[in-house]
């Protein structure tokens, strides 16, 4: 990224914000060759979005069915375990079986804590550190995106 990309085009954002209000939309995204700006009203404040990485190419069936509350802000949590791939998360080895792990339980690094399935490939997801599971963000069978926080281990 060159230096000029680092400066934010305030006029453009102001213009987009004005459009947003006029049109009563909640979100406007503007993109050209090397930058992308998304301006949104509630719930998120207006933020410039860095140009890379590109979003997934198509809306997925899975995305449309996700819970309203997303733990996106948890991805930078030091204890966050992030999904290594796009797929479907399973908390137990098979339907009806005991989950690999529950909130409040201790795990050791390397222990399998869930499975993410993609194209019938069942990937065991290991704990990236030892500790206690304090939060689990996904439900059994829920679609997950690359880098999405799955749980917090503290």
């Amino acid at each position: 990224m060159s230096d000029k990309k680092k400066s934010v085009d305030h006029d453009l954002i102001r213009e987009l914000s004005r459009l947003l209000t006029e049109t009563d939309l909640t979100e406007i995204e503007f993109e050209d060759d090397d930058m992308r700006i998304r301006v949104a009203r509630n719930p998120a404040p207006a933020v410039p979005v860095p140009p890379a990485p590109p979003p997934p190419p198509a809306p997925s069936a899975e995305q449309s069915h996700r819970p309203a509350t997303q733990p996106d802000d948890m991805s930078s949590h030091p204890g966050a375990l992030l999904s290594p791939m796009v797929g479907t998360a399973y908390l137990a080895a098979e339907p009806g079986a005991r989950p690999y792990i529950d909130i409040g339980e201790s795990v050791r690094e390397g222990q399998t804590v869930m499975i993410v399935e993609a194209m019938k490939t069942m990937n065991q997801i290991p704990a990236t550190r030892s500790g206690k599971v304090t939060r689990i963000f996904v439900e059994d069978g829920q679609p997950v995106e690359y880098g999405e926080p799955l749980m917090i281990i503290e």
Binding site: S60, T88, T121, Q142
Partner: protein, 255 residues
């Protein structure tokens, strides 16, 4: 090829009976196996399919798992599913004759159908080892001589009943080569575009109306194609498109 009858770089353990050939290869990986290991068995006491489903290995059928170690980064490794399906299709057609391509089709993501009935299943399992290596077990079960009568979610058949007589040991010998060949073409995921194209040429139900059973709901639409990552692209009524990375497919108006 060496005296083992396998492509170079591959080894084989042949068993009479094991819990599951994939369980065995993952155990070998945990004990330091470098990969390229095939484990085959005449019988499996705990053969498994997707989401804990039991897989029955009837007498004379093929149960084989291939261990790969660090074949590609985990997000890309999932596409090995298509590599395995394609290799199995090629192995069977190679032994039975090219005319079979009219009836032998790949069902997304990697089952094999003969005349619309399932004759083989593939299950890939990935596991990060304690030493940091990423082990992948490619489990392949083929109904050569018999098929289970019940408990299947999709109509099952076997090659023999479908008019294709291939003994499991001959099939394994062919599969070992087509698999090595397709893994080379796949090129750690870099060659997936070619694999995808070859897979689509042999796919079942492209353009047809399908129903997809997701974990918690069922959706339908038209099976349009695969995206660049191998996910199924479903055209929904009304024109929207959705992509699916995990689910069970059913074809409208077919058995």
């Amino acid at each position: 090829m060496d005296e083992t009858g396998l492509p170079s770089g591959y080894r084989r353990e042949a068993h009479d009976s094991v819990t599951s050939t994939s369980s065995v290869v993952l155990e070998r990986a945990r004990n330091g196996d470098p990969g390229g290991l095939w484990v085959t068995a005449r019988d499996q006491t705990e053969g498994r399919g997707r989401r804990g489903r039991h897989w029955t290995t009837g007498e004379g059928n093929l149960a084989a798992s291939l261990l790969l170690v660090d074949p590609a980064p985990p997000p890309i490794a999932a596409t090995i599913s298509f590599v395995a399906g394609l290799a199995l299709h090629r192995a069977i057609v190679g032994l039975a004759g090219i005319a079979l391509v009219e009836r032998l089709k790949l069902k997304w993501p990697n089952d094999l159908l003969l005349g619309g009935r399932k004759v083989a299943g593939i299950l890939v399992e990935g596991e990060k080892m304690a030493d940091g290596r990423f082990a992948v077990a490619v489990g392949i079960g083929v109904n050569c001589l018999s098929h289970p009568q019940s408990e299947a979610t999709f109509a099952a058949d076997d090659l023999m009943t479908g008019g294709v007589a291939i003994e499991s040991e001959r099939l394994f010998a062919g599969l070992a080569f087509t698999m090595a060949d397709e893994i080379e073409r796949w090129d750690r995921g870099g060659g997936f575009a070619e694999v995808r194209s070859a897979w689509l040429d042999r796919a079942y139900g492209i353009g047809e109306r399908i129903t997809v059973n997701l974990n918690d709901r069922v959706i339908d639409g038209s099976f349009e194609t695969l995206d660049d990552d191998g996910r199924l692209v479903l055209g929904r009524p009304g024109g929207a498109r959705e992509t699916i990375s995990a689910g069970d497919l059913f074809f409208a108006g077919r058995a």
